[in-house]
């Protein structure tokens, strides 16, 4: 299970999955041409997450713009996390969004609903 660190680009989010610091964070825009290259490593990371060794998973999402295909990949990642939660993993998901961005709030609600995982919604003040 390798760490994943990806620097933010105009169309790709910053990704920080660090086992040691226990930071699992995806933040920024997500509308890449090929979502698979961005999100497959995260799916693999989650699939290989050792629930026996790591009982807790704290995840933070802070999107700005996100396209429909990215949403599909994020849904797949969250559903994999939900499977681990059923095996005893304690999951905490923070969903950060701009205070006036109801679309992102709605997306968080959808993802929480399909995975049956509670999200903590954090409103951010608009810059």
């Amino acid at each position: 299970m390798e760490n994943i660190n990806r620097i933010e680009a105009a169309d790709c989010p910053e990704i920080n999955f660090d086992k040691k610091s226990k930071i699992f964070r995806i933040a920024g825009n997500s509308y890449p041409e090929n979502c698979e290259t961005i999100y497959e490593p995260i799916k693999n990371f989650i699939e290989n997450y050792n629930v026996e060794e790591n009982k807790i998973l704290n995840l933070e999402f802070q999107f700005n713009l996100i396209n429909s295909t990215s949403i599909v990949y994020i849904a797949q990642i969250i559903m994999k996390i939900a499977e681990l939660a059923q095996k005893g993993l304690q999951v905490s998901i923070k969903w950060l969004y701009d205070i006036n961005d109801e679309e992102l709030l709605d997306l968080g609600n959808k993802l929480s609903s399909i995975s049956n995982l509670p999200f903590e919604y954090v409103k951010l003040k608009e810059e």
């Binding site: 169309d11 290259t37 396209n67 849904a75 559903m79 701009d98 109801e102 679309e103 609903s113």
Partner: protein
């Protein structure tokens, strides 16, 4: 007619349509962005950046800014993934974003193969038959059982466009030659829905 001649006919038609839209604009309409020809991810990034800058300068609501950006991303990805490519590797497509008295209008058009017309029309008609309020739930259902193609693309662009535009859009599929047709989309983002 050879394939090369069909390409030229298609190119001429898309140019004529593009200029017809520009000529039909009202005096106070403002072109926010226009691009004709080949689209790729770099052009998408530039258009989103330009759009963001312009809308911030215009003091637009965040909700309008976001909605417009989401729609433009889906329109351009639709062009990148589905538009027909000419023999010299160029795309036949355009995108125009207009600010008008009611809000904003996105015009997008791309060449497609006539053999795909029936499939596209069936897909659009299926989505049009769904109530506006049910589109969001359909999206929720689709993201749980996606069909991702070999390019890593989930194919939810049209559904997203319908959902995010609140079905405030017009479309037209015009056959240009035996092999090619043009798929036009006109999407409206009306101020009255955001205040």
């Amino acid at each position: 007619m050879s394939l090369a001649e069909e390409h030229i006919k298609c190119e001429n038609q898309i140019l004529a349509d593009y200029h017809a839209i520009k000529e039909s604009l009202k005096k106070d309409d403002v072109i926010i962005c226009q691009h004709i020809g080949t689209f790729n991810q770099h052009i998408l990034i530039s258009i989103i950046s330009l759009l963001d800058h312009t809308l911030v300068q215009n003091g637009e609501y965040l909700s309008i800014k976001k909605r417009l950006s989401y729609l433009v991303i889906e329109c351009i990805h639709n062009i990148i993934f589905h538009s027909n490519i000419t023999s010299d590797k160029n795309q036949l497509a355009y995108l125009l974003i207009i600010k008008n008295e009611l809000g904003y209008t996105i015009y997008a058009s791309n060449a497609m193969e006539t053999k795909n017309i029936v499939m596209l029309e069936a897909k659009i008609n299926d989505l049009l038959a769904i109530k506006k309020s049910a589109l969001s739930n359909l999206f929720k259902k689709k993201i749980q059982t996606p069909e991702i193609n070999e390019n890593g693309y989930a194919g939810l662009g049209l559904l997203t466009i319908m959902d995010k535009s609140g079905k405030d859009f017009n479309y037209k599929i015009a056959k240009v030659s035996q092999t090619f047709a043009l798929f036009h989309l006109e999407i409206n983002i009306n101020y009255k829905n955001y205040q």
